[in-house]
Amino acid sequence: MADPAALPRRILKEAQRLRLEPIPGIAVEVSETNLRHFLCVVDGPEGTAYEGGKFKLELFLPAEYPMAPPEVFFRTKIYHPNTDKLGRICLDVLKDKWSPALQIRTILLSVQALMSAPNPDDPLRENVAEHWKTDERGALAVAREWTQKYAM
């Protein structure tokens, strides 16, 4: 079912490197049944409202990869203006800023960076972004609450 020999070499190499040189604060596991499907856990960055939380993400490499970007979404509920309630993520490198020179590794690091630097000016969830802009302390408090409730 999951035959590594059938996979493009690039994907094999990326997966191998992720295994041999793990990204600090990010665990990546390849699905047993689908070698293009990765189950990831990103630690909430220190000093943010997500600190202490473990955020699950799923990542999939479509047939067009690396000409097309990986697809990624949060499996864990997160209060963040650049995600929507289904966990979809608004991130330039997952869209028009994608380049085949980027990798799974860079994408996951970008997601982690996005957690450290929410950008309410380019929101996916208007009401959350509005919360951020009008009452950042309140928004961060809710984000912390969600981290405790859903990510711990």
């Binding site: 059938a6 996979l7 493009p8 070499r9 689908n34 999939f60 479509p62 509920k77 289904l86």
Partner: protein
């Protein structure tokens, strides 16, 4: 594919459903004008299981221009298995049971289903089945009647 060695790329359930959702969300661009679908409750559906759909009754049938509401359930085994569908709007159709459930086997959908088929395909099959010669003239309940 180059260097792909005949790899059969399998899109995992959630990614496939998110793609389908995106297509349904774009105000139906890319969808036939007579059908629509979306998540029933995006706030409370982590697993992308519960969907709703509408079909506009085909011209030349006794359901012509009626908006027919359906609920659609994409279970854990979707897309290996087709979604379960039921009409909310009351209809009189040979492949629809007393409680609104659609018999996908009677439509041939269950047998022909492949994992790259979609909610759109399933709705389309229902739409076309309504227009079948032996079905199109069947007397229908008054407009507005519902199964639930």
């Amino acid at each position: 594919m180059f260097g792909g060695g005949g790899e059969d790329v399998v899109v995992p359930r959630a990614f496939k459903l998110l793609k389908e959702l995106e297509k349904g969300e774009k105000g139906g661009a890319g969808l036939p004008p007579y059908l629509s679908y979306g998540l029933a409750d995006a706030d409370d559906d982590d697993d992308l299981t519960h969907w709703t759909g509408t079909i506009l009754g085909p011209a030349g049938t006794t359901l012509d221009m009626r908006v027919l509401e359906l609920s659609i359930e994409c279970g854990e085994r979707y897309p290996e298995r087709p979604p379960e569908m039921r009409f909310r709007t009351r209809v009189n159709l040979p492949f629809v049971r007393n409680d609104g459930r659609i018999d996908l086997a009677a439509l041939g959908v269950a047998q022909a289903w492949r994992r790259n088929n979609s909610i759109e395909d399933a709705l389309n099959a229902v739409y076309h089945a309504i227009a079948r010669p032996e079905v199109r003239r069947l007397a229908q309940p008054p407009e507005g009647a519902r199964f639930d």
